[in-house]
């Protein structure tokens, strides 16, 4: 079987999820690799969610929120804007490549942007190949 990138997408309910909806309603063609999880706000995405995605076998994680200034909860997306760069810095120390995690802003009217962001992310992750953590070997060892 040919490997396809598995990407978990955390989409904010108020902008990006509707942007994704618009992309679908508009019958835009885009990569089918992002598994969408709807969250109330991009700030709902705890850093542990991203780690959990990788631990569960994801090859990449994309977080999409409202544009800065447009947050339904005033400043949730600013918290995301601070967390993701720190998370990426930490993930680099854990051996997870920068391109495996992305943060972008997609509004409810940006169906086309959603499609292009998803396509770009899919190609970046495809270029990196599958994410295999050292965990698998470690768990195997624990059994013996």
């Amino acid at each position: 079987m040919v490997w396809e990138p598995k990407i978990v997408g955390f989409l904010c309910n108020w902008c990006s999820y509707r942007g994704a909806d618009l992309a679908g309603i508009s019958r835009l063609k885009f990569a089918p690799n992002v598994k969408v999880i709807r969250v109330p706000c991009s700030a709902r995405v705890e850093p542990a969610f991203v780690l959990k995605a990788f631990q569960s076998g994801a090859d990449g994680v994309i977080i999409l929120g409202c544009h800065p200034g447009d947050c339904h909860y005033s400043e949730g997306n600013y918290k995301t804007m601070r967390r993701v760069p720190l998370l990426k810095k930490m993930l680099a120390q854990l051996g997870i490549e920068d391109d495996r995690v992305a943060l972008d802003w997609v509004s409810a009217s940006e169906g086309e942007k959603f499609a292009s962001v998803v396509d770009a992310m899919t190609e970046k992750v495809r270029a990196l190949g599958p994410f295999t953590s050292n965990n698998a070997e470690e768990l195997e060892h624990a059994k013996t």
Partner: protein, 319 residues
């Protein structure tokens, strides 16, 4: 009532847990009145073969400290599990991997290379590395195998209770021993500590809205004594650390480093602390945010100081 049979063991640890156990002071006499120590490598001369000769479940309680990084430690963990009715994971290393768990940012080759070749004080022209077995003229010499990855005790054998801390504070140790002496043990799997959510609940510093423009390391500033350390730009892990210690570190102007592990309900202490620290950054400008984050020189090592082996990813991926 016959006396309790108590065993104490150390695996990959520094010896600080033994100090922690002695910290209970005169209460040791109370313990000695009800318990006999049958195995304690740091203090009494009982050999591994003596433990091996004990019948299964003949030890009432074993306090096991240290993480598991060698085959010898794994062997002893399994043996003490078989011989003990109650196995207590004692201290940060046994519970969460602890400081030795930071080795999970590397693998065995990198660690051996550093320790036996690269260190400036090492003279090892023949590049001799530890071998598990070596044929000498006098016979075969053996060493335990050094594993790629450090694990916690509960990742190795079934554990009954956890006593957190580096080392556990006297009050926490006594809480566990008191429960044993009185025979009032909590449900299996309990992390024994005073019932406090986070270190912040015990910390007397004044807490306000947290807005930080710059982070500092402890040697870069003298903190003001009454305000929350995180508000002053020191990365204090109290906000993401199980309480019960009484917050001695922040009261001594030292930020909490997280030795009691994740609070109840939190699965990944480092990620939790990362979320908290990033959220207090006082900026909405991506470039300024980046320069503030550049101040944090070792986020993974800081956030996972005691808990990398029990984190979601458990170790770094080495290319």
């Amino acid at each position: 009532m016959p006396k309790l049979k108590l065993a104490l063991y150390w695996a990959s640890s520094c010896g600080g847990c033994e100090i922690g156990q002695l910290q209970i002071g005169t209460k040791l006499l109370q313990l000695a009145a009800v318990a006999d120590i049958v195995f304690w490598p740091v203090a009494i001369d009982v050999k591994y073969k003596d433990v091996e000769a004990m019948p299964d479940k003949s030890i009432d309680v074993c306090l096991f400290n240290g993480s598991i990084r060698t085959s010898e430690q794994e062997h002893m963990a399994k043996m003490l599990r078989d011989k003990s009715n109650v196995l207590i994971s004692y201290g940060a290393c046994a519970c969460n991997g602890g400081i030795p768990g930071l080795a999970n940012f590397y693998n065995r080759d990198m660690i051996f290379n550093r320790a036996y070749i690269e260190t400036p004080s090492t003279d090892n022209a023949g590049k001799t590395m530890p071998q598990t077995s070596f044929q000498s003229p006098q016979g075969v010499l053996t060493l335990p195998e050094f594993y790629e990855t450090v694990r916690s005790l509960a990742q190795t054998v079934d554990v009954d209770y956890f006593v957190p801390g580096c080392p556990p504070e006297e009050r926490t140790t006594w809480l566990a021993l008191e429960a044993l002496i009185e025979g009032k043990l909590p449900p299996k799997g309990t992390v024994i500590s005073n019932n406090v959510k986070a270190v912040c609940d015990d910390c007397p510093r004044k807490k306000n809205v947290k807005k930080v423009k710059s982070f500092y390391r402890t040697f870069q500033m003298v903190p003001e004594p009454e305000t929350c350390l995180l508000e002053q730009g020191l990365i204090c892990a109290g906000i993401a650390t199980r309480g019960g210690c009484g917050a001695p570190c922040p009261q001594a102007n030292m930020p909490c480093t997280g030795c009691y592990g994740a609070p109840e309900g939190v699965i990944d202490q480092g990620a939790h602390l990362l979320g908290a620290v990033a959220s207090v950054i006082d900026s909405t400008d991506p470039d300024e945010i980046k320069s503030i984050i550049d101040n944090i020189s070792d986020p993974a090592g800081t956030f996972y100081r005691y808990s990398l082996p029990v984190s979601l990813l458990r170790r770094a991926k080495i290319k």
